[in-house]
Structures are given as C-alpha cells and as structure tokens.
C-alpha cells in the first residue's frame, strides 16, 4: 500500500544468463489461444508478471514448470534446454520451486509433513539454520502439527511458500504468493524474498497484483493481456509508460538509479544521489557508495513552483516538464518530468495543472514525501 520509493541493491550486472520462453497454449474448446508469448527474460533477479485476471499469468508459469502439456513451446533456462520440439524435461527434473495460486498442500500430511516432503527431495540437504529461518519468516512454528484442513487460508499459503523454498530451487515460480496475507506478514516475508534473491541469486518469476510487492522486489516486468505480452522490460521502463491501459496507469511511476552518499544515523535516513538531485529515504543499512534504486510513484509526486523548505516533504527536486498527458480519469493528468537525466511521472488533478499553469518546458519543483518510502 505504501511503496512509493524503493531502494534495492543494484544487481543488474551485465547479464549473460537469460531465460527464453516461447509458448502457445490453446485449450481444447477455446476459440483463441490463452497464451501466445515469445519472451527473453533475465536469468537472475525477480521478474514480475502482471496482467488482468485471465490474461494467462498462471498459464505461463505452468508452461515454464512443464505442467501444461498442451504447450507448443521452447524453453531454455540459463542455456539449459527445458523444452523444444524434440525434448521435454518433465517437471520433477526441473530444478524449480512453485507456489501455486491455491495453496495445494498435501491433505494427508501435516504442515510439517508437507515441509519434510520437500526437504527429503531437495538436491542438497538444508542446513538447520536455513530451515529455522524459513520457518520463522513464515511464522509457522506453532502450526506445524496441524493438517492443511485445520489451517486458515493464510497459514496454508505460508506453509506452501515455505515448502517451495525448502526444495532449494534454482528457479522460483510464485503465483500470487502473498495475496491472502496481511500487511504485517507481508512485511516479514518480503525482506526474506529480497534476501533470497540477493544471497542465492536465483531467478524468481512473481505473479502479483500488488504494486507494493512488485515495486519492492522486481527488477523486470512482463505485462500480459489476453495471452499476449503488451509490455516488458525493466520495471522502470514498464511503469513509466503512459500508454498502458487503465488499471496499469494507476501504477505509473519511475525507477531512479542512485548511489548512497550519506547516512543519517540519528534520523535513520539515507541520502541517495540520483542524476537530478538528492533523495532522503529510510535507511536500509546499505553502505555508503552502494548503488541503489528508488521507485517514485506518480501519485506521490506533487509539483510546486518554488522550493518550500518549511514543509515536512524532505525531497524536493528541480524538474522540467517534458510531456503532459490526459488519463482515462477526466479529473486527472499525468506529467512527465525530467529530473537530471532521469524521468519521473507526477499525477495531478487537471485543476492544479491549470491553476499552476503548467506548460511543457517549464522548470519547477517536484516534491516527494519521503515518509512514504518503504524499508
């Protein structure tokens, strides 16, 4: 709910690893194909998969996992062929973990039994420490003896996530893993997933409707619509695009590259230098000199003609208006702003736009409330 700006350690090293996926799925009795994609995705980091309900997200994950036998497809993961015309590695030989959209625990095993099922079959023995970390993060210590039918929806989902992690996958497929969880729990699991990504360097495909989660986690995004890819690229590229259909445009924002230049231990803040100026963000205990990324959502950006240093808004950057664009919501407009070499987007009422008499090329100040930064 609150992810407006985001800082993540930069992982976008030059990327030789990649996942190539090309699938065409047409279900029997269906008029058109439910999935028709040809994708090249980074073989590391988190790729967010977006799309309306029924757009083919689950189908894509199922194809990658080898669960959808109907797929005409090619799939290679970091140069290993998983599927092509001649070969098809069966699911159980693919080193992946899958969190299903419905928890899908084994009903004849307790939560503990479900976890053991994965532990027993993992390629490497899991260390007790790692095991404990997973259990604690998911907050399932107390329910391990219960059967799935005795668990709440969220508890089931957490056990399912733990199960998928304990198999120690080399590719993690997660289908709306946090949808049924409350904020507090999400706040515990998200950093864990971040750590997972950074410490194990495994690629994660992450279906989610929540921009918070995605903004926080993902490096790359794919947007599906009716089985086709309508946008893909780095998260920033995808979400500064003004031409995405309504629904996505609410999520419009920008990702800025920066470096940590100062840490304010007293106020637990970190100063990040981006091309257009400095940002104060909550301190994520990253070291000075670290490359980080900041996410700025359009809805959190306000404009001012002058620099107000008596406001609680810490982040005020010089900006130049480069494009003004109406949205499907008549009261609103999107404004693309150049901040240094970066582009950010602001979402304003048409009326403010008019009152401030904002014009293309105009210089003004973009205000971003740092209190809204997560982490």
């Amino acid at each position: 709910m609150m992810a407006d700006l985001e800082v993540v350690v930069d992982k976008t090293v030059i990327n030789k690893q990649a996942i190539h996926a090309c699938f065409n799925v047409t279900y029997p009795q269906a008029q058109s194909s439910s999935l028709d994609v040809d994708l090249t995705l980074p073989g590391r980091g988190i790729t967010a998969i977006f799309g309306h309900s029924g757009s083919g997200k689950t189908t894509l994950l199922r194809c990658i996992a080898g669960l959808e036998k109907l797929a005409q497809g090619n799939l290679s993961v970091n140069d290993v062929v998983w599927q092509n015309q001649n070969s098809f590695i069966p699911t159980h030989k693919r080193p992946l973990g899958y969190v299903f959209q419905e928890a899908s625990l084994f009903p004849h095993l307790t939560a503990q039994g479900n976890l053991n099922y994965a532990i027993k079959r993992a390629d490497e023995k899991i260390s007790n420490e790692d095991y404990q970390r997973v259990i604690e993060t998911m907050g399932i210590e107390t329910i391990l003896q219960q059967y799935p039918q005795q668990l709440s929806g969220g508890q089931r989902q957490r056990v399912a996530i733990a199960r998928a992690l304990l198999i120690q996958p080399q590719l993690l497929l997660m289908d709306e893993p946090l949808a049924s969880l409350d904020n507090a729990r999400k706040q515990e699991i998200l950093p864990y997933l971040e750590r997972l990504r950074s410490s194990f360097d495994i690629p994660i495909f992450y279906v989610s409707h929540s921009m918070d989660e995605v903004a926080r986690l993902a490096d790359h995004a794919v947007v599906l619509d009716e089985g086709k890819v309508i946008a893909q690229g780095s998260l920033g590229e995808v979400f500064t695009r003004l031409d995405l259909p309504l629904g996505f445009s609410d999520e419009t924002g920008a990702i800025l590259q920066g470096e940590i230049v100062e840490r304010d231990e007293q106020w637990h803040l970190a100063k990040v230098a981006v091309a257009g100026g400095d940002f104060w963000v909550r301190d994520g205990s990253d070291k000075i000199g670290h490359q980080v990324r900041i996410r700025v959502q359009a809805r959190d950006v306000s404009l001012a003609l002058s620099d107000h240093d008596d406001s609680s808004i810490l982040n005020r950057l010089k900006a130049e208006v480069i494009e003004i664009c109406a949205t499907q919501d008549e009261a609103m407009a999107l404004v693309r702003l150049k901040v240094g070499k970066d582009v950010i987007v602001a979402r304003l009422t048409q009326r403010s736009l008019n009152e401030l008499n904002v014009q293309c090329g105009q210089q003004l100040f973009a205000q971003i409330k740092s209190a809204a930064i997560i982490r």
Binding site: H92, P107, Q149
Partner: protein
C-alpha cells in the same frame, strides 16, 4: 473342540487363499486402476468393461470356462505347462488365479474411483517438489486413495472368502489344498448336517465382522480429504 479337523483345515486354507488373492488383486489391480483413472485413450471404455465382465457370469459357469482354459488343452494350461508349472486346476494356485479373475472388478473399481477423485493438483505439486512418477505414486496417490484401497481390500477379501462356485469348479475339493470354508459349509448343508453348517457359518461371520470392523476403524483414522 467342536470343529472337525477338516473344518479347521478349511478355515486355514480360506484365510490363506483370501489373503493371497487380496494381495495379488491389489498388486495387479492397482496399475490397471491407475491406467483406467488417468488414460484419455478410447480403450478406457472397452478395457474397463472387460475388467467388469467376469461379474456377469455365474461363478460355476465362469469356473467351467476357466477349467477349460486352464486345462491341458486350454490356452492358459498350455502356457503354464510350457513354464513347467503343470496345469493349475485342483491346486491352490489354480484357486488363486480363478479368484483373482473373478474378484478383479471389486478391486479395480473402488481404486479407480478414488484415484479419479484425486485430481491433478496434488500430483502437480509433488512434481514441482522433485518427486518422480514412482515416488508420486507411493507418496501421494497411495495415501490419498487409501479409502479406495481399503474398500477394494474389503470387497476383494470378503468376496474371496464367500466365493464358492469357482472354487468348487476349479478346486476339486481336495482337503487342505482346495477345500475352503465356503465349500465345507456347502457340503454340510448339502449333507443335511445343518448344525455343523450353522456353527461354521457363525464363526466365519464373527471372524469376518471383526476383520471388517478393524478395517473400518483403520479407515476412520485417515485424515479427511476435505477442504475446510
């Protein structure tokens, strides 16, 4: 003891036969049921019907045909002879083969139904957890289809205990080898030894009731396959 020696021999033989047949049925019936449950082939219907077919023949008649087939001139008989096993009628294993044939549908059908009710999801989940087909079968299908297996075992066991027409036909009523309790009771009835018949039938019922009760109790303990 109120039982004659031949009664006791018959009881033992029956237990041996029923246990063997049930085991053989579960071992043979499970893959058949699995195939029937999962296949999308058009052969599913015909094969399924074929499995159920022995049911519609009266046991004595089925026994008669089996007697021909397993005899020296029969296909089965020539096969077993060529294997050096001789012919099967009038042997314990002849009874086993015949009973297996006869009770097959009672075992295949419940297992098949239970496997069909499983759905794909648990198997898919297991596959993503690195479980291969055999592993999946033992770790997921078997425990989840347990009620079906128990029903199958109950029906198969009980039916073999009660089986009689075929046993009569194939067995040759050889004491200690093929004279099972059902034949023994039948003999008592035919010989108008009603008291003996009542006694033996009573014991058999009491015993079977206990076995069945045990199985039901076992089944009750299995966790419900129920979404909350």
């Amino acid at each position: 003891m109120i039982f004659s020696d031949s009664d006791i021999a018959a009881i033992w033989l029956t237990l041996r036969l029923a246990t063997t047949v049930t085991l053989v049925l579960l071992i043979i019936g499970t893959p058949i049921a699995w195939w029937l449950a999962r296949t999308k082939s058009w052969l599913k219907g015909p094969i399924g019907a074929l499995v159920a077919l022995p049911l519609v023949l009266p046991p004595t008649v089925l026994g008669f045909y089996l007697l021909i087939a397993m005899g020296p001139q029969g296909v089965l008989g020539q096969f077993t002879t060529s294997l050096g096993l001789g012919t099967l009628p009038f042997t314990f294993w002849g009874l086993v083969v015949a009973s297996v044939f006869y009770s097959m549908p009672f075992v295949v059908q419940p297992i098949q139904n239970a496997m069909e009710a499983l759905g794909d999801r648990p198997l898919e989940a297991a596959a993503t957890l690195r479980a291969g087909p055999i592993d999946r079968f033992f770790s997921i299908v078997l425990p989840l289809a347990k009620p079906g297996f128990i029903t199958a075992a109950i029906l198969g066991f009980a039916h073999t205990v009660g089986e009689f027409g075929i046993v009569l036909m194939i067995g040759g009523n050889i004491p200690g080898e093929t004279r099972v309790v059902s034949v023994q009771i039948y003999d008592h009835v035919e010989a108008l030894e009603y008291a003996q018949a009542h006694l033996l039938a009573g014991v058999m019922i009491a015993f079977s009731f206990t076995v069945l009760l045990g199985l039901y109790w076992f089944q009750r303990k299995s966790p419900l396959l129920v979404l909350k």
